[in-house]
């Protein structure tokens, strides 16, 4: 069953230098229990999509399109209902754990408050639930550490507490925005294993935002590749890696340094990231694309059969 449906989402920001076209006509569906990756380089619009789903876009944003969650249109939902939904059914995990934790509140209070507020649970009940999720995210000696403050935990543990906070109301959708980018690989492995286990146990849908293709490969069923705020390619993860159908996806995969290969020259994608101050009128990747032909600069390629490229896959280098 479709849990989340995003249709023709467009996000623009009004700035001193004119409009920034951050997200341009993005559509996708997420099924119950699905793990979808949103991959793209810095500035490609990943975080703004997550923030739009949460109704947390900056004041200078203009948004249109449709975001439906469980048959409700989130863009027209009254604020009170949106708040309730946000607390109980959709959770957002940010890259920096400190930005979601209050440094002056004990972990027990921060976790418990959510349940008290949104489910009317008693203090004792809230405490029990807090302990449960702390155990679930493997905080050692959780019972004795409920009274601790965020700074008393290491970076990896803080991120686990943020995950605990996201889980405490048993959401149906978790938006994880670069949840491990600030962490070391050994801790990252821990957190991803944890997310995977929770996802399996509770059947939660997870939208994982990342720029790390390695993390995607190990975790997500499906992958969506963004460039310049547009979807370049969307496919089941194995297909993205085995038979990427878009020049940008191909370039990206070739540019990843692999630990098993030493002295090969990396194939870099030439050029710089796109300027987003004008609405795209042609393929945004055209200035950097090795396969570009004159027609690529003339119109926007339509998104068809999982890819937005005017050239057939067989013709790509």
């Amino acid at each position: 069953m479709t849990l989340l449906s995003v249709q023709n989402l467009r996000i623009r920001f009004r700035t001193g230098d004119g409009l920034v076209h951050a997200v341009n006509d993005v559509s996708f569906d997420m099924a119950e229990g699905q793990k979808l990756a949103l991959v793209g380089e810095s500035g490609s619009g990943k975080s703004q999509i997550a923030l739009a789903i949460m109704g947390l876009l900056a004041k200078n944003a203009e948004i249109d399109g449709q975001i439906r969650f469980d048959e409700r249109d989130l863009l027209t939902l009254p604020a009170a209902q949106m708040n309730a939904l946000r607390a109980a059914q959709i959770a957002l995990i940010f890259q920096d754990p400190m930005s979601s934790l209050n440094p002056y509140m004990t972990i027990e209070r921060q976790l418990g408050e959510v349940v008290e507020l949104h489910e009317g649970a008693s203090r004792a009940e809230a405490r029990k639930r807090a302990l449960e999720v702390m155990d679930a995210v493997r905080i050692p000696d959780a019972r004795n550490r409920l009274r601790a403050y965020p700074h008393e935990f290491s970076g990896g543990m803080r991120q686990r507490i943020v995950i605990a906070m996201a889980l405490i109301c048993r959401p149906r959708l978790i938006l994880a925005d670069e949840p491990t980018t600030a962490l070391d690989v050994t801790v990252q492995a821990q957190i991803m294993a944890l997310l995977d286990e929770i996802q399996r146990d509770m059947g939660t849908s997870v939208l994982l935002i990342t720029h790390d293709l390695g993390v995607v490969a190990g975790f997500c069923d499906d992958t969506m590749v963004l460039y310049g705020g547009r979807v370049m390619e969307a496919a089941p993860t194995p297909a993205i890696f085995d038979a990427p159908g878009h020049p940008y996806t191909r370039g990206l995969l070739r540019a990843v340094p692999r630990i098993t290969e030493g002295d090969v020259t990396l194939s870099a994608i030439p050029g710089s990231p796109p300027n987003q101050t004008a609405a795209p009128r042609a393929c945004p990747f055209a200035p950097r694309c090795v396969d570009a032909i004159p027609a690529c600069h003339d119109g926007l390629p339509e998104f068809r059969e999982g890819r937005a490229c005017i050239r057939p896959v067989e013709e790509l280098t």
Binding site: E41, Q190, H211, L213, V216, A217, P238, A255, R258, V264
Partner: protein, 329 residues
């Protein structure tokens, strides 16, 4: 075999911290950032340094470059020890050794044009050049890193992150240093741009015969550029080995865990990352024995008492007591 161009021996760095102090007047505690690191570099050698955040990588190379303090240890250039308190020594060091940093934008002066930024080292180190010659050298160097001459009079904020890092490289290399220290030079860049910068650094290294220290937390990146890799943990050296050997056959338990956790960009590979339990020790209160003991899955009793040195054990440099056991057996 030639002599090392750079020798670092037993570097130790501590910082005073006020955090967790009992009374305002009690003496500050000391955070141990680098706990004894030493290595020799041959001319043209590329040493990669990896390790988790806070393990002392930046502190170590800042100390080597004379940009940060050290408590003890020594650094020699061409076999001659550097006295960081002497101006003449520092000048010699700066002439031969340059550094590039993680944040490309922040390391360039926002009020100077690209031309002025790149020309600056020439003003100091090659005063014999006149302004026309300087300009010519700047144009050549910028061209080498892929910045067109017509953009020379622009300011850093008009360039992307990847371009700023190229400009940083041009500035570092224009006066032809022999040693380049790179502190996470590509960590802030996107994958597609990162590859451009790594390739450029590799080419320039080969062309100019540069000796390179390349610090990063991404093992894939380090593997691509390094001859040898040093793995650090809590300020100490865990393992030092030729890059290919280290990746194919890690010997230290920490290196093993690190490698098993590097995500593989291939969905068919079902990875079994070794999940480390246990917490990092506090850098103000390091344990007596092995630095890795609190998270080590192979720990034995002796690990709590004896801190293993990085010694040549069976042809590999590993700081782990298990290697001694194996040797004895």
């Amino acid at each position: 075999m030639s002599d090392p161009i750079l020798s670092v021996s037993d570097m130790r760095v501590t910082f005073p911290v006020r955090q967790g102090q009992r009374f305002p007047w009690s003496p500050p505690r000391r955070l141990q950032a680098v706990t004894g690191v030493g290595f020799d570099l041959m001319p043209g050698q590329v040493l990669g340094i990896v390790g988790e955040s806070g393990c002392g990588k930046s502190t170590l190379i800042r100390a080597i470059a004379g940009l940060g303090p050290h408590d003890s240890g020594s650094v020699s250039l061409d076999g001659e020890p550097i006295d960081y308190a002497r101006r003449a020594d520092l000048q010699r060091l700066r002439r031969r050794m340059q550094m590039i940093f993680q944040d490309p934008m922040a390391s360039l002066n926002p009020r100077m044009t690209i031309r002025e930024i790149v020309a600056e080292p020439l003003v100091y180190f090659c005063p014999e050049l006149n302004s026309r010659q300087r300009r010519q050298k700047v144009i050549e160097m910028l061209d080498r890193v892929g910045i067109a001459e017509r953009n020379m009079n622009r300011f850093p904020h008009e360039f992307s992150g990847g371009q700023c890092q190229r400009i940083g490289i041009a500035r570092a290399l224009i006066a032809r240093p022999q040693i380049l220290l790179c502190d996470e030079p590509v960590s802030a860049l996107d994958v597609s741009i990162q590859a451009q910068v790594i390739n450029l650094l590799k080419e320039l290294q080969a062309e100019m015969g540069l000796t390179l220290i390349f610090v990063a937390h991404d093992l894939g990146v380090v593997r691509h550029i390094s001859d040898d890799i040093l793995v650090m943990y809590m300020g100490g050296m865990m393992e030092l080995a030729p890059a290919a050997d280290l990746v194919a056959n890690p010997r230290h338990p920490y290196t093993q865990a690190l490698l098993s956790a590097v995500p593989v960009p291939d969905p068919r590979v079902k990875q079994q990352p070794q999940i480390l339990t246990g917490d990092l020790p506090s850098p103000t209160d390091l344990p007596q024995g092995c630095l890795f003991q609190s998270r080590c899955p192979k720990r034995i009793d002796a690990c709590a008492r004896t801190r293993p040195d990085l010694l040549n054990r069976q042809g590999r440099q590993v700081a782990c007591l298990l290697e001694d056991e194996a040797e004895r057996a």
